[in-house]
Symmetry: C2
Subunit: 335 residues, 2 copies
């Protein structure tokens, strides 16, 4: 005995498929008596519509996917959650898909492996190059998140990284820091995002007449607390002079604080620290972390709105929206 289908319900209720379909979907109208009979038949059989069949027939899925590298990266977890909520309010379902930061997985997103599975995707690429993104099939509803490269034709939601990094760095300078490190330089080549934050950091140093020092550009291999810890312990043990650290993100900052504590360096007394993302955990670190707080709810709402418009057929040029961010000052820089 396999599961009941629409025709089974129709047969039991003594009506046609169309009528059952109407009752199930609330389309058209049905006589109250008929409706009741159909409902009874549905209950008796335990009928559930087959989503896949409906999708095939309508061509619409009512579902969008959120493609991120990993939900274990707190920033992506928080964004996924907000995107989910934002999408629900406009009647869209969300599934989250992890690329694990792998270029081939990211390419698969663009290759529309999912054609027919979702109506569109909100995508935060981390490993793709501008070329990868350049040629995509048109008519594929796509909204890009993050500060990576985005072709003009594609919708894109971002924040002003350079300005925010400048502000965070200037804040440390205002607190009297003169030997400010930047934690989060990738080994090979800077990612687009890091490049912008790094640029803002340098602009602020410049503006204050401070000389950059390469020894204070702290390298990492991943954006993890582990790496932040390692890099800062390393810098301290090599005797590099430091009185402030601009961290590329809060995970690195988490590790940085741990490193400073473990080397008996007072925060913010000896070294002041800023993070980036305003993760939930940021205000529970010790000391609570000053961090660049992007307006995440607005990012989510904007992305969903843009995607919904694409899904509904908007074919115009790419929109590039810049969402505000704000430096959230806490004790890690309070001096």
């Amino acid at each position: 005995m396999s599961r009941p289908r629409l025709t089974d319900v129709a047969a039991l209720a003594g009506v046609s498929m169309k009528t059952v379909s109407n009752v199930v979907n609330g389309t058209g109208s049905a006589a109250p008596a008929t409706r009741a009979r159909v409902r009874a038949a549905i209950d008796e059989l335990g009928y559930r519509p087959n989503v896949t069949a409906r999708r095939l027939a309508t061509g619409q899925t009512g579902t969008i996917s959120v493609a991120i590298s990993s939900v274990t990266v707190p920033y992506f977890a928080e964004m996924s959650n907000l995107l989910d909520r934002a999408a629900r309010t406009v009647g869209l379902r969300v599934v989250i898909e992890q690329t694990h930061g792998d270029r081939s997985n990211e390419l698969a997103i663009l290759a529309e492996r999912e054609r027919g599975l979702v109506d569109g995707v909100i995508f935060h690429p981390v490993a793709l190059t501008p070329d990868d993104l350049a040629d995509r099939s048109p008519g594929f509803a796509l909204v890009l998140l993050g500060e990576g490269p985005a072709p003009a034709a594609v919708d894109h939601v971002m924040i002003d990284n350079v300005a925010a990094a400048r502000e965070a760095t200037a804040h440390l300078i205002a607190k009297g820091c003169r030997h400010i490190a930047f934690l989060g330089v990738e080994g090979r080549r800077l990612t687009h995002t890091t490049g912008q934050r790094f640029a803002g950091y340098h602009q602020a140093l410049d503006a204050a007449g401070l000389r950059p020092d390469r020894r204070r550009h702290l390298q990492i291999n991943h954006y993890s607390a582990d790496e932040g810890y390692r890099a800062v312990v390393d810098a301290i043990d090599r005797g590099i002079a430091l009185d402030g650290i601009v961290c590329r993100d809060d995970s690195l900052a988490t590790g940085a604080l741990h490193a400073l504590h473990s080397r008996q360096v007072a925060v913010p007394g000896d070294v002041a620290v800023t993070g980036w993302d305003d993760l939930i955990v940021a205000r529970h670190l010790w000391p609570p972390l000053t961090t660049v707080g992007p307006n995440k709810p607005e990012i989510a709402q904007t992305a969903v709105r843009l995607l919904a418009e694409r899904v509904q057929g908007y074919q115009g040029p790419g929109r590039h929206e810049i969402v505000a961010s704000q430096l959230v000052c806490r004790d890690s820089t309070a001096r």
Copy 2:
């Protein structure tokens, strides 16, 4: 011009649908020359198979869903990630679905809203009652995670909460703690999970001849760092004697550490603290957190294996697997 279908490719290549299907799926065999012609046609047209149609035809989706309350809960994020990886190794795709801890959303999972969308679901319920779980349609591939109630008929992967809580508490006692609080008692009624951990905590106190004290049962409204912070600050300010805290999970412990620092209480000198889950962040908290570490990779692999067996038609009785956990000792109890 809509997107190309299998028939379009077939027409262009001058072959039948079946042949194209063979080439696309690697089924059957095709003459090299034919194969090449088909490939060329596919490239020229930019053809992508429609996943939905394939699903309808085969009845299998190759996808499972992971249903959790929220990816912003670090434990769920880590588990989702591990489940994803485990599923990939057996050729299954994973989509993550958030219930936001909402009972109606959780019921929707059981109601198989997704019928036809996924082959099965790995589900960590938080709001359901035993009754909710009791009557489900048979033949629906389902594996339950966590320590909630699980009907005998349903596969279930869990850890031994009572034993682990006893071990964590005994560890504090061995370190000389005599006034040990339990942080994480829910307001109304204990959840199944909390109840087990709470029971283990009491067993250890009993075994050491320590008297429980209701004032040291710290109440919370959510499992968040915010709540942990609030509850511990509250206890300190009310002058409740404390020299150890067993936290129901690492998020609460994060807030507890913050609270202790902000009230100048030394950890572990004045108060030793244990958490639960061994989140990534646990070893970067200050001081690094002693915590109950479930074997998460094994939980994930076990759950995927059980589900894969169900998907492949296993109809036997429910399997209830207990996975090991281990107390990970760090500085928050080092005294």
